[in-house]
Structures are given as structure tokens and as C-alpha cells.
């Protein structure tokens, strides 16, 4: 009985960590695809500015306090260890901001083509996560 009680919270924590990792991977992939599209059509300086602007937005909207990470770039090295539901709503808000910014840079048709290509090529596990949390949408 004691071990079962010990296992249950461990499993929940493990599941939460896996979900945080998947959500972070999905969000990082999303930002990377937008950065690539901007660098291809508008140039590297514009893509760098997009990344800076997104980081600034994240810092102004509680990223450091919530995750303990300095900026979004740290996602490539560390996965935030927080409540996955909270993290998903944070990523959703940042993704919406990134999409709004990318729409202004790329225009609607090119943005749509970029996102469509990304959604079509998502690995099945990330596609499943995205269908649940709607981080990447065409709207």
C-alpha cells in the first residue's frame, strides 16, 4: 500500500514532465518554422528581430517568473518543470502573439502555407498534443 501511494504522485509528476517536454518541443518547433520562413523571405536581421520581439513579449508576460528560464532560447537546453496546464496556456498565448507578428511580416498567404506545411509534417505524437492544446492553428 505504501509503495502504491508513493508511485501515484511519481507517475503524475512524470506525466506532467513528459507533457511539459512535448509542449515545449511543439512550441520550439513552431517558433523555429516561423523564424526559418522569415529568414528565407525577409532576411536574417528581420528573423533576429522577430526572435527578440517574441522574447521581449515573453519576458513581459511572466516567462521568467513562471518557468525560471531567462528567455525562450533556454528551451533548447532546459524543459520548464511547472504545471503542464499552466505551461500550455502560456505557450498558447505566446504562439498567438508570434502568429500575429508573423502575419504582419509574411502576409496571410505565406504564413498559411508555412503553418500548413508544418502541421502536415508534425510527428504523430506532437500532432496529437497539438490537437489537444491547439498551440499551432491556421487561424
Amino acid at each position: 500500500m505504501q509503495s502504491a501511494f508513493q508511485e501515484e504522485p511519481l507517475d503524475a509528476a512524470g506525466a506532467n514532465q513528459v507533457l511539459c517536454a512535448d509542449l515545449s518541443l511543439l512550441f520550439t518547433l513552431y517558433v523555429t518554422r516561423l523564424l526559418e520562413a522569415i529568414a528565407r523571405t525577409g532576411g536574417k536581421p528581420l528573423a533576429d528581430q522577430f526572435a527578440q520581439q517574441l522574447n521581449l513579449h515573453a519576458r513581459q508576460h511572466g516567462w521568467c517568473v513562471l518557468t525560471g528560464l531567462n528567455d525562450l532560447n533556454e528551451l533548447r537546453r532546459r524543459i520548464p518543470d511547472v504545471d503542464a496546464r499552466v505551461l500550455s496556456s502560456v505557450y498558447l498565448a505566446y504562439a498567438q502573439y508570434a502568429q500575429k507578428l508573423a502575419r504582419q511580416i509574411l502576409g496571410e498567404p505565406l504564413l498559411k502555407a508555412t503553418l500548413t506545411a508544418m502541421l502536415e509534417n508534425l510527428p504523430p505524437d506532437l500532432a496529437h498534443i497539438n490537437s489537444q492544446y491547439r498551440i499551432v492553428t491556421l487561424n
Binding site: A39, G43, P45, R103, G107, L110
Partner: protein
């Protein structure tokens, strides 16, 4: 003034001053002729340098870098051609037809046209069939109009237009309009985006070269082209200057694409 208004205002202002000079001709036709070709050379060099510089905003291997390198290479050839024209006049040599000036201009136009085709292919332009058809009809209409005007003269004056002149005129016209059509499709695909802004100027530039080229061809066929002498020559000279200025503006706009500009524009 905001950048996207300052650039067209500067172009229109420069063209207005040049047009006024063209009409009034202070210093006589010789001054206008030299001013015209000096302006052509300066603007062509400016477009070439800015386009080559703009290519460096893209990482090596990216298609857009090739697009701007091709545009810069083409503009360099046109700039050399315009500079050669000045050199011919400085040494007082008559310019034969076709001369090295014409040949360089013809060669220089190829990479410019190629750059816009590369841009179209790199973007994987996805437009509806109706959008493409609409643009095709507009450009075919323009081409037909130009051909009717040209053929009208050629058929009414048989033997006056040399075959080589006819072919050169057709090359510039069909080439310019064909590539302007492709460039317009690219622009439609990028519509509404910050990245479209340089291409607005590049498409205008190609269209200006098409108009100027047609006027120049018609002027040479009819032996009426002479800087400062008539309306047809004015259309050609102002058109070429507008083409060079627009190309330089497009490259400058690529170099100055900034996110912060979105808020102020």
C-alpha cells in the same frame, strides 16, 4: 515622414525635377543629354550596390540571396553600360548600333529577369487559378496593346525597321512583361506582409523598363528618339530613370526592413 511614404515621395520628387528640367532645358539639349546619362549611371550604380548589399541580409545558400545577387549583377552590367555611354561621349566617339553599350544592356537584363523567376520559384507561390488567370489576362492585354501599336507602324512603313532592331525591341518588351507577370504573382502571394515592400518597387522598376524600352524601340524605329526632342523620348528617358530609381529603392527597402517600422508605417 514615415519610410514607406518618404521613398515614393523622393522618387516622385526627383522625377518631377528631372521632367521639369526636360521641358525647360536650361543650358540646352546637350546639358540635358549629359545630365540624363549621368543620372542613369548614378542610379544604376546605386541600384547595383544596394542590391548586392541586400543579398547579404540572407544566409549563404538561401534562394533569396541568389535573387538579390542576380539583381545586383544585372544592375552592375546596366551600370557599366550607362558608364560606357558617358565614356563614348567624353572621348567624342560616335556610338554605333548595336554597340558595346547595347550589348551590355541586353546581357545585363538577363540576370535581372532570372532573379525574378528565381524569386517566384523560391516562394512556391500558391495562388488560385482565378488570380493567376486575371493577371495573365492583364499582362497579355498590355502585350497585345504594345504589339498592335508597334505592328501598326511596322506594317504601315515597310522596310523602315531593321530586323535586328525589331528583335531587340521584342526581346525587351516580351522579356520585361513576361517577368513582370511572374513578379506580380510573387507580390500577390506576399501581399500584406512586410517582406512584400521591396518587391513593390522591383515590380514597378520592371514595368518602368518595359514602358521605357517600348518607347525607346518605337523611337529608334521611327528615328524620332532624341533626348529632349519630343514626348516619346521623354517617356523613354523618364521611364528608364524611374526604373533605375525604383530598383535602387527596392534594394534599399530590403536593407531597411525592420520590425519597428511596422508600428510607424
Amino acid at each position: 515622414m514615415k519610410k514607406d511614404r518618404l521613398i515614393p515621395a523622393t522618387i516622385v520628387g526627383l522625377l518631377a525635377v528631372y521632367s521639369a528640367w526636360y521641358v525647360v532645358q536650361p543650358g540646352g539639349p546637350s546639358v540635358l543629354l549629359h545630365l540624363t546619362h549621368i543620372l542613369f549611371a548614378i542610379c544604376a550604380w546605386l541600384a547595383a550596390i544596394l542590391a548586392l548589399h541586400a543579398s547579404r541580409t540572407f544566409e549563404p545558400g538561401v534562394s533569396s540571396r541568389h535573387v538579390w545577387v542576380l539583381l545586383g549583377a544585372g544592375m552592375t552590367a546596366l551600370a557599366i553600360s550607362e558608364t560606357l555611354w558617358i565614356a563614348y561621349h567624353v572621348v567624342g566617339q560616335p556610338i554605333p548600333y548595336p554597340s558595346l553599350v547595347d550589348i551590355l544592356w541586353g546581357i545585363g537584363f538577363v540576370p535581372i529577369l532570372a532573379s525574378l523567376v528565381v524569386q517566384y520559384r523560391a516562394l512556391h507561390v500558391q495562388l488560385s487559378r482565378n488570380q493567376k488567370l486575371l493577371m495573365l489576362v492583364i499582362y497579355l492585354g498590355l502585350l497585345l496593346l504594345a504589339l498592335v501599336v508597334s505592328l501598326g507602324y511596322i506594317l504601315s512603313s515597310p522596310g523602315e525597321v531593321a530586323v535586328v532592331q525589331l528583335l531587340v525591341g521584342a526581346y525587351y518588351l516580351i522579356g520585361s512583361l513576361g517577368v513582370a507577370f511572374i513578379a506580380t504573382l510573387s507580390l500577390m502571394y506576399l501581399r500584406g506582409g512586410l517582406v512584400a515592400r521591396p518587391w513593390v518597387y522591383i515590380v514597378i522598376s520592371i514595368l518602368m523598363f518595359a514602358v521605357a524600352g517600348l518607347a525607346f524601340s518605337f523611337g529608334t524605329w521611327t528615328n524620332t528618339y532624341a533626348t529632349g526632342s519630343n514626348f516619346l523620348s521623354a517617356v523613354s528617358d523618364v521611364g528608364y530613370l524611374a526604373g533605375y530609381l525604383s530598383a535602387a529603392a527596392g534594394a534599399y527597402r530590403q536593407l531597411t526592413l525592420r520590425l519597428s517600422a511596422m508600428a510607424e508605417e
